[in-house]
């Protein structure tokens, strides 16, 4: 039992954080917001160079062969950076599912090299994210999984300017082994991770703003009322983090109650992120209500992640059914049940 990141994991996080802060940053997000596609081929290429699309692809297919914990750690960094490119769904959700399904070596190699990009479709979502530009769709519409192709249609606007949505589509393709629940759990876990990363970023922006913005002759962060808002948000964020990592381990090891832990992580991270967004706008005051400050990119990502991959009601009902319904043992000696 050792509930700490390994040195390798910490080094990975540090490296990716540094890399993303170089390729992203608020100015880059603002520039992309002005582009019709919202995408940058240069950033996409740099992600491949960093090896991120192949993070979970087995080494035999040219990937790094890392696990769900590492993917969650990178998804947190993606949230922190406000990542613009569609990396997570294909690389951290589709890739491990296709690996488990077997017989998809060529596609996995293409994911790792950046030639293939897989979008995800699931009944939990009324919209499909990033279908435009995707070479494949992994669809969970028929109970099982289907890998194939489809064209994006009837685009819908997301509040998140860097998120592109399409109506669900009919996928032409072939069935692959795997469960739609597994797809949902992995995707919900990654949404939770991105929300937590966005919350981290909003906290940092808010602390920075509160430390510099002067009112009544002092930085507003000196006032106890402002301090207490930020301290409360910190408590929520820091207690969501271990829940997320615990859920990552449950998914990685295929634990019996993995879906309960994923729902816990989704609620903890998204509740913290939504509360952080409200705190952040309060701390930023009227400036936070504008495009003048950078805050809005992360607030909007948090809102998007909160509704995607099973909304609050969905995950609450899974917890309710398991905890009150009795499917998961509760009590002091059941911490890792």
């Amino acid at each position: 039992m050792d509930f700490r990141l390994t040195e390798d994991q910490r080094a990975l996080v540090d490296g990716v954080r540094e890399f993303l802060s170089g390729t992203h940053g608020a100015e880059v997000l603002r520039a992309l917001d002005g582009e019709p596609t919202r995408r940058s081929s240069a950033i996409a290429a740099s992600l491949v160079e960093m090896g991120l699309p192949g993070l979970m692809v087995p080494a035999d297919q040219g990937g790094l062969g890392l696990g769900t914990v590492e993917a969650v750690l990178i998804a947190i960094e993606a949230g922190r950076a406000g990542l613009s490119e569609p990396l997570i769904d294909g690389a951290f959700v589709a890739a491990p599912l296709l690996t488990n399904a077997g017989g998809q070596d060529a596609l996995l190699a293409a994911i790792a090299s950046g030639e293939a990009r897989v979008a995800l479709q699931h009944p939990a979502n009324p919209w499909v994210a990033d279908l435009d530009g995707a070479t494949h769709v992994l669809s969970a519409r028929a109970g099982g999984l289907l890998i194939g192709t489809a064209a994006a249609q009837h685009p819908a606007d997301s509040v998140d300017p860097l998120r592109r949505l399409s109506k669900p589509v009919t996928v032409a393709g072939t069935p692959v082994a795997g469960s739609s629940d597994d797809l949902l759990n992995r995707a919900a876990l990654m949404a939770a991770a991105q929300a937590l990363g966005a919350a981290d970023a909003m906290l940092a922006l808010s602390v920075d703003y509160a430390g510099t913005r002067q009112q009544f002759g002092e930085p507003i962060g000196a006032f106890q009322a402002v301090k207490h808002h930020l301290a409360s948000a910190t408590v929520a964020i820091e207690f969501a983090r271990p829940v997320l990592l615990r859920a990552a381990c449950a998914v990685e090891h295929g634990e019996a109650h993995a879906s309960v832990h994923v729902s816990h992580a989704k609620l903890a991270a998204c509740d913290a992120a939504v509360a952080m967004a409200e705190t952040a706008i309060q701390v930023h005051g009227a400036m936070g209500y504008t495009y003048e400050v950078d805050l809005h990119f992360w607030m909007k990502r948090a809102w998007a992640m909160a509704g995607a991959w099973g909304d609050r009601a969905f995950h609450l009902s899974r917890i309710d059914a398991a905890v009150i319904g009795g499917a998961i043992p509760v009590g002091p000696a059941e911490t890792f049940a």
């Binding site: 509930f3 106890q224 816990h264």
Partner: protein
């Protein structure tokens, strides 16, 4: 990251489980906040000590087992799973013991730790004064040096366990005219010493778990001072860190409360409102999150890390969780919540627990103080009036 217990840890769990099954008293004890209940709880402390389970993380030389924090968490899980009583020895285990280990001399360790581990001496804390609650630097009680002794004068209040306990610890001003954090010393005193008067304070629940302590020229040997003269503030801050942080509230205790709440919700069936039902799920989520976080911090400490201002995050989280869980139980009980005893004579433990939970956000430094600590020391926000 490896969330599986080792075979040794599993064997240890089995050992604790077996001992608890054979030794935990059948039926609830009378509350620790009353003299008869206090005696029952002290008897339990001694029984625990007889099995060498009093202070499992302490070195064997002082009556402990030398276990690490993961083993401590496992012990606590089995302790609360077995429905074992609250610890009368809490101030010793969580506050004074670690303080003496860190700051005490070898002589003080030998003199105080073993009797504490054996449950022979039960300790009361004497932190607060009428004018110094969360603002502990406002302490006015004095200790004047007279040869090999200090002479204590002043008043402490809201001293947990002090109505019945054997010894106490607290801060006294040893430098005349000193201000705030300076000139304070951390002293240990016999509660039965001449010149000490205890006045039990009746708390919200009607019992007297607290007392006021009046010091009228109480002579305390200089050998009872922990760390140097005038160094008391640093020692007390370390003690407060233990109190807020990892040790005081083991996650297992909250997991046990959450499990009882789940049972209550199931028993009440369809009369539980959707909102209360969601709060029951939230209780499980909160208790689990607190447990994961504690395992994470414990893993870090085992690897050589320290707990600092993060302790304030813990304190806010568990105190608000505990209050929310008991509030939820009161809502589910509805009209029955107001009963001190149910129709079958059973104590309404949810009511008692709710009243107790209201103290959580106040003691060990109010949650407002904790939020200031988080904002200033973790987030680096400026102090008011500093610039």
């Amino acid at each position: 990251m490896d969330l599986a217990y080792t075979p040794e840890q599993q064997a240890f769990r089995a050992e604790v489980r077996e001992w608890m099954a054979a030794n935990v008293p059948v039926g609830a004890l009378v509350t620790l906040e009353r003299e008869d209940g206090y005696r029952q709880h002290v008897a339990w402390e001694r029984r625990l000590a007889s099995g060498n389970w009093g202070m499992v993380t302490w070195p064997e030389a002082y009556g402990g087992r030398g276990l690490d924090l993961i083993q401590w968490l496992i012990f606590e899980e089995e302790y609360w799973r077995a429905g074992a009583p609250n610890r009368a020895n809490q101030n010793g285990i969580f506050l004074l013991g670690p303080t003496i280990m860190e700051f005490g001399t070898d002589e003080q360790k030998a003199r105080f730790l073993t009797p504490m581990a054996k449950g022979e001496v039960i300790w009361a804390q004497a932190w607060s004064e009428p004018g110094a609650g969360s603002d502990m630097a406002a302490i006015a009680s004095r200790a004047v040096r007279d040869g090999d002794h200090y002479v204590l004068t002043g008043q402490k209040t809201w001293s947990s366990r002090a109505a019945y306990a054997d010894w106490g610890f607290g801060l006294f001003r040893t430098e005349e005219g000193s201000k705030r954090h300076k000139g304070l010393s951390f002293l240990l005193f016999d509660l039965n010493a001449p010149g000490i008067t205890r006045r039990p304070i009746r708390q919200l629940h009607g019992d007297t778990g607290f007392a006021e302590l009046f010091f009228d020229e109480v002579r305390v040997p200089v050998a009872n001072r922990i760390s140097g003269e005038g160094e008391g503030w640093n020692v007390a801050m370390a003690t407060a860190g233990f109190e807020r942080g990892l040790m005081l509230r083991s996650p297992a205790r909250f997991q046990a409360t959450a499990a009882r709440l789940v049972e209550l919700c199931r028993a009440q069936g369809s009369r539980v409102s959707p909102g209360a039902r969601e709060a029951v799920s939230a209780a499980w989520k909160g208790a689990q999150a607190y447990a994961y976080n504690t395992y994470m911090v414990a893993s870090r400490i085992i690897a050589g890390g320290h707990i600092g201002a993060e302790a304030s995050l813990n304190k806010i989280f568990w105190s608000e969780l505990d209050r929310a869980m008991h509030r939820t139980a009161m809502q589910i009980l509805g009209a029955a919540a107001e009963l001190r005893h149910f129709a079958d004579g059973e104590v309404n433990a949810w009511l008692e627990g709710y009243i107790f939970s209201l103290s959580g956000p106040i003691y060990a430094g109010s949650n407002e103080i904790q939020r200031n600590i988080i904002a200033e020391r973790l987030l680096g926000l400026p102090r008011q009036g500093a610039g």
